[in-house]
Amino acid sequence: MAACSACGRLLCSLCEIKLDDDTLCIHCLHSGREKRKISSLENKRTLFDTLALNLAFWPMLFVFPTLITAPAALFITLRYWKSQGSLLPRSRFRFVLAFLLAACQVGGWCFYFTRFLD
C-alpha cells in the first residue's frame, strides 16, 4: 500500500503510478496533466516571448503592418510576462527586446500621426 503524494489517497500496488520519484493516483495524474502541473507529462509549451519578438521584429521589414503588430507585441509582453515559459533554461531578454522594439514602433507611429495631423 502507498499513499498518493498529491491527495493522500491510499493506493494498492496496481493503482499506484510512480512518476519522478512520486507516487500518484490516476485522478491526480490526469489533473496534473490537464492543469500542466507535472512538467514530465508536458509535450508542448507556447513561447510567448518568441511570439512577441517575432511580432515586434518581422513586420518592421514591411513597415505598415507594425501599426497593428506593435501594439499586439506590447500586449503579449505585458500579459504573459510572468507566464510559464519553456521547460529549458531561458532568460527574459526576448520579452525585453520585444518590448523595446514595439515601444519604439508605437512611438514612431504616434510621432508620424501627430506630425501628419499638424
Binding site: S5, A6, D20, D22, G32, K37, I38, S39, S40, E42, N43, K44, R45, T46, L47, F48, T50, L51, N54, L61, F62, V63, S86, L87, L88, P89, R90
Partner: protein, 331 residues
C-alpha cells in the same frame, strides 16, 4: 513536482527546418528532444533506461551540399573573370558561396543517427559525424549509469539452445517511416506528383524567363516573372500540404521546402524593390499601372545589383528545378 529547468544541459548539434529547429537536451534521467516551431516548443522524452541502441550511419549528404555550393562559385567566378568592369555583385556572391562551401567542408562528413527503443526507431537531429560522435559519447556515460556497462565479449543474450534468427544482425536497419497516415490505415497512399512536376517545371521556366529578360529585353517577360513568383508560392504550398506525409524526410520533401523558401525570399526581395521604386517615383503614386510598368523596367535594367540578383535567382531557380526532377525520379 515540476522539474527544475536548470537540470537540462544543451547537447551539441541542431537541425533547422522552415521556421523552426530541432535540438537535443540532456536531462537527469532522460534525453529531451525539443522541436521549436514559431512560438511553440514540442517535447519528446527518451528515458536512458529505455534506450536499446544508438545507430550511426554515414551518408553522402555533405557531397550534395558541396556540389550545391560549388556550382554557384563556379558560375559567379566565371562572371568575375569575364567582367569588363569592377565586379562588385559577382565578386560578393562568389565569396559568399565560397564561404558556404568552406563551412560545409569544415563541418565534415554527414550521417544519420537513430535511437532504438522497444517501440520505435527514432531519427535524431544530428547531421554531422563529428557532432554525432560527441553526443554519443555523452549519452553512453548516462546510459551506462542507468543500465550498466555493456559486456561486448559476452555476445547477445539468447535462451539456452536457441539459434539466432536469420538476418538478426540486420534487424537494427530502420525501415523508412511511411508517416502517421500509413500507421492508421495500414498502407501508404501513393503520392500524386502532379503539383511537384508543375512546381519544378515552373522553377525551370522562371529561370529561363529571367535570363531571357536581359537577352531579349521584352517587358512582358518581366510581368511573366512576377506571375511565376506568385504561382510558385501557391504551387509549393499546395505540393507540401497535399503530399506532406509521403514526402516528409525524403529528398523530394527537402526540394519542395527549399523551393518554398526560395519563392518567399525572392518575393520579399521583389517587394522591397517595389517600395524603393515607389519612393523614387512618387509622381506615379496615383497611376498603379504606370508604377507597375516602371517597376518592371527598373527590375530589367542593367544596374549591377538588380542584374546580379535577377541572374542569381535565375541560377538558383534552374538548380532547384533540376534537383527537384531528380528527386522525383528517386521517390
Amino acid at each position: 513536482m515540476a522539474k527544475d529547468e536548470k537540470d537540462y544541459v544543451k547537447l551539441p548539434g541542431r537541425a533547422f527546418f522552415l521556421f523552426g529547429a530541432k535540438r537535443l537536451w540532456q536531462g537527469p534521467d532522460h534525453l529531451l528532444w525539443v522541436e521549436s516551431l514559431m512560438g511553440q516548443e514540442h517535447y519528446r522524452r527518451f528515458y536512458y533506461k529505455d534506450i536499446q541502441a544508438v545507430v550511426l550511419q554515414r551518408t553522402k549528404t555533405h557531397h550534395y551540399w558541396s556540389a550545391l555550393w560549388a556550382i554557384p562559385v563556379l558560375l559567379f567566378g566565371i562572371a568575375v573573370l569575364l567582367s569588363a568592369t569592377t565586379p562588385y555583385v559577382s565578386g560578393f556572391l562568389t565569396l559568399f558561396f565560397l564561404a558556404c562551401l568552406a563551412l560545409n567542408l569544415i563541418l565534415g562528413p554527414a550521417c544519420v543517427v537513430y535511437l532504438q527503443t522497444a517501440v520505435q526507431m527514432q531519427l535524431v537531429p544530428l547531421g554531422r559525424l563529428k557532432t554525432a560522435q560527441r553526443v554519443m559519447d555523452k549519452l553512453r556515460e548516462r546510459i551506462e549509469l542507468e543500465q550498466g556497462r555493456l559486456d561486448v565479449s559476452a555476445g547477445p543474450a539468447r535462451p539456452a539452445g536457441a539459434d539466432p534468427p536469420p538476418g538478426a544482425l540486420h534487424a537494427i536497419r530502420p525501415e523508412r517511416d511511411p508517416g502517421p497516415a500509413a500507421k492508421v490505415t495500414g498502407a501508404a497512399e501513393p503520392l500524386n506528383p502532379i503539383f511537384h512536376i508543375l512546381l519544378f517545371s515552373l522553377l525551370i521556366a522562371a529561370g529561363i524567363c529571367r535570363i531571357l529578360q536581359y537577352g531579349a529585353g521584352w517587358i512582358a517577360l518581366g510581368f511573366l516573372d512576377l506571375l511565376f513568383i506568385a504561382a510558385g508560392l501557391g504551387l509549393a504550398a499546395v505540393a507540401l500540404v497535399r503530399g506532406y506525409h509521403q514526402i516528409k524526410g525524403r529528398w523530394l520533401g527537402h526540394s519542395t521546402w527549399t523551393a518554398l523558401i526560395f519563392f518567399i525570399l525572392h518575393g520579399m526581395t521583389i517587394y522591397i524593390h517595389y517600395i524603393i521604386v515607389a519612393l523614387r517615383y512618387p509622381d506615379l503614386a496615383m497611376n498603379q499601372w504606370g508604377m507597375l510598368r516602371k517597376f518592371v523596367e527598373v527590375l530589367m535594367s542593367d544596374h549591377p545589383a538588380t542584374m546580379g540578383i535577377q541572374l542569381g535567382s535565375a541560377a538558383v531557380s534552374l538548380i532547384l528545378g533540376l534537383t527537384g526532377f531528380l528527386a522525383l525520379r528517386r521517390k
